[in-house]
């Protein structure tokens, strides 16, 4: 293995080969993105597709996100799969508030992302009305591959985040 020559002004060079230096962001983001613990907020048929995604055929554990937790305290990925009504919305908001930072949100399917064809008095037209959403998935319901793609894109997004900067809620 060859290394690029490092300018002598870089202080790490004086440490010799005994140390591996990196940025805190790189280490923390590596750990965060490879062990997402999802909380499935499954209210409709998209949740059935998510069951397929974590099962052996598609095996979401290849991306480190198969450990489904049903307690918001233990999860850091909120996965909304299904229709969210106005009666359900405060519950969803509370679950989001109960999750510890850092936390991310994936909205799956037509209902969760935009309300779909429920253009009516009782359905939230997209859950980004009440909580911030990182990744949207189109489909009714989306295929399991789309869930995998969403987790993958979220991993890319986590990789660009900084540990020092606090995520602004509602941004």
């Amino acid at each position: 293995m060859t290394f690029k020559p490092v300018p002598a002004a870089v202080p790490e060079v004086s440490l010799g080969d005994a140390f591996v230096t990196t940025r805190a962001d790189a280490v923390v983001n590596w750990a965060r993105r490879n062990s997402l613990w999802p909380f499935p907020f499954g209210t409709a048929c998209c949740a059935i597709e998510f069951m397929g995604t974590v099962s052996s055929m598609f095996d979401l554990s290849r991306f480190g996100a198969e450990l489904v937790r049903f307690s918001p305290r233990q999860a850091d990925l909120l996965l909304i799969a299904g229709t969210v009504t106005y009666k359900q919305a405060p519950i969803l908001r509370r679950i989001y508030d109960q999750m510890l930072e850092p936390k991310w949100v994936i909205a799956a399917g037509a209902c969760a992302t935009s309300g779909g064809f429920y253009d009516c008095y009782c359905t939230v037209p997209g859950i980004d009305e009440i909580i911030p959403v990182d990744i949207y998935i189109a489909g009714c319901p989306p295929r399991p591959e789309a869930f995998i793609e969403a987790v993958y894109q979220l991993q890319q997004k986590i990789g660009t985040e900084s540990v020092a900067a606090r995520k602004a809620v509602g941004a």
Binding site: M57, D119, Y136, A146, I148, E149
Partner: protein, 191 residues
Amino acid sequence: MAKVVARPDLSFWESVYFIEIFKGLATTLGHAVRNLARPEGFQTLDYPEEQPRLPRDYRSQHRLMKRPDGESRCVACYMCSTACPARCISIVAEESPDHHIEKRPAKFEIDLLLCVFCGYCVEACPCDAIRMDTGKAVIVGDSRAGFVIDKAKLLDWNPADYPAEDLRSQEAPGGSRNAEARAALKSGTHH
């Protein structure tokens, strides 16, 4: 009359309980060993590297079919947006420069997040202008605005991506037989 369901008593070895647990574990371990010995028999689809095989008529992202001159076949009749249960298609019509055609879409937008992929727009279209056979079923993004696809994107498809023996794709103008249709247009046999 109530049906009596027989509840057989457990045998001695079954009631010992641990033996049955280990028999279950042996089944799981057997599958694990069998898979390790024969990795090609894995059920798992290695998704990003290995793509799923979708049938040709699988309803996925939309595309607009073209006339021989490259224009959209759409005549802005609003049949699809009327049939759409999710009201995800928004069309603005304008006058067509072709005297044989009354209207054409100035704007044709589909919000893929609203779309429920029912295929009613394809059924409703009288001109075979819209199809849902692109095979693009994984539609993921980080902003809602990015899911609205416009006319240019709907018309941006390559005939080579569709199988040559697929008559539905290739015989219609816009497919790989576009050149024949264009020749017919020039010779005046096309109407």
